[in-house]
Symmetry: C2
Subunit: 227 residues, 2 copies
Amino acid sequence: MPLVGASFETAAAPVVAVLGGTGQQGRGLARRLAMAGRTVLVGSRDAARAEQAAAELGAGGAAGIRGGTNADVARAADVVVVAVPWQGHAELLRELADDLAGKLVVDCVNPLERDERGPKPVAVPEGSAAEQAAALLPRSRVVAAFHHISAKVLLEGDEPDETDVLVVGDDREAKQVVMELADAIAGLRGVDAGPLRLARWVEGMTAVIIAVNRRYKTRAGLRVTGI
Amino acid sequence: MPLVGASFETAAAPVVAVLGGTGQQGRGLARRLAMAGRTVLVGSRDAARAEQAAAELGAGGAAGIRGGTNADVARAADVVVVAVPWQGHAELLRELADDLAGKLVVDCVNPLERDERGPKPVAVPEGSAAEQAAALLPRSRVVAAFHHISAKVLLEGDEPDETDVLVVGDDREAKQVVMELADAIAGLRGVDAGPLRLARWVEGMTAVIIAVNRRYKTRAGLRVTGI
């Protein structure tokens, strides 16, 4: 049975797969995208775990989510959100390069480590997780987005506080698609934040937000004023 | 004649010097701090240029600003804001290390270069301008702040849109002083954004804001939601 039926061919809205969709961030994004009416496929290394996560999100009210292996959901989708831990990022993308060819890949991975003082910088040879993705996926269009929204916020409640989604990439059209995805989620707004080479700083701001959360015991978000 | 008279000894509020105070960012910060009632000293390599900038800001309504060489104003102040171009950052701080001993140094320098696509990453061996300052000034307390506010916004009008000043540093007390300085400026709010090792990302966000400004033809600012 194909993961996506007739709706794939007929729907105007892109079908979205979430790799690492059983993790907190992945489940949160899948939930919000499904709540926004998108067809969402949750991927995992283990198809059974992905199907379970999809069923749980469906039982929680986020309808229209299916599960499958990362490779299967990647092939079935138009837009593929990469929400895996940084430690597995390069390996997964190298494995899936063929499955992701021609897809719009949305990298939301933060290359961070933690120690007793909180999140700390990780040196990425390519400059950022997103640039690493672009290097590993020359046949995909890579955009980076959705770094800053707390997974807990995505997984709970109806609508997060108004938060901006900074979208970076070198393909204007691809960025536009991702900004529209962000806009479709209640409480979020997509903001074009420049070319992919700025991704390191968008990703790094996640560490700053985590530090703010620690200091103020909150779930902080970012808003860009003046637009 | 000393740069700062009786007010230095008696005032509860720290005297603030701005190195590179004849540049746009420096003049803008000097203006806003003077408007907030602080005693402000504008520094430059050239004392005459600093005095001229101070006089112009005074004529524009920002009273209480004096000018002098970078070294003179550094010695006379409690808090020293570093607002020089990135290209001259290390050299200036190396020269002034003795003058800055014991001072609270607020680095607001963004290590950026520009090309036809806008701002681009600069590799800083120490990780960030602020960490470079800390390495060059072992006898000073170094905090980084005031990176994101447009110089034009600081130089024009009465009150900027509500904008947050992300303050990073390893000295809680020093951060508190800088957050209070930010809070004293109308429209600004100081936010404790974590340890100094996160400075690279706070500095880098300036490039993202410049990219947003280009894209949306605006003067964007940042707000942290949830605190």
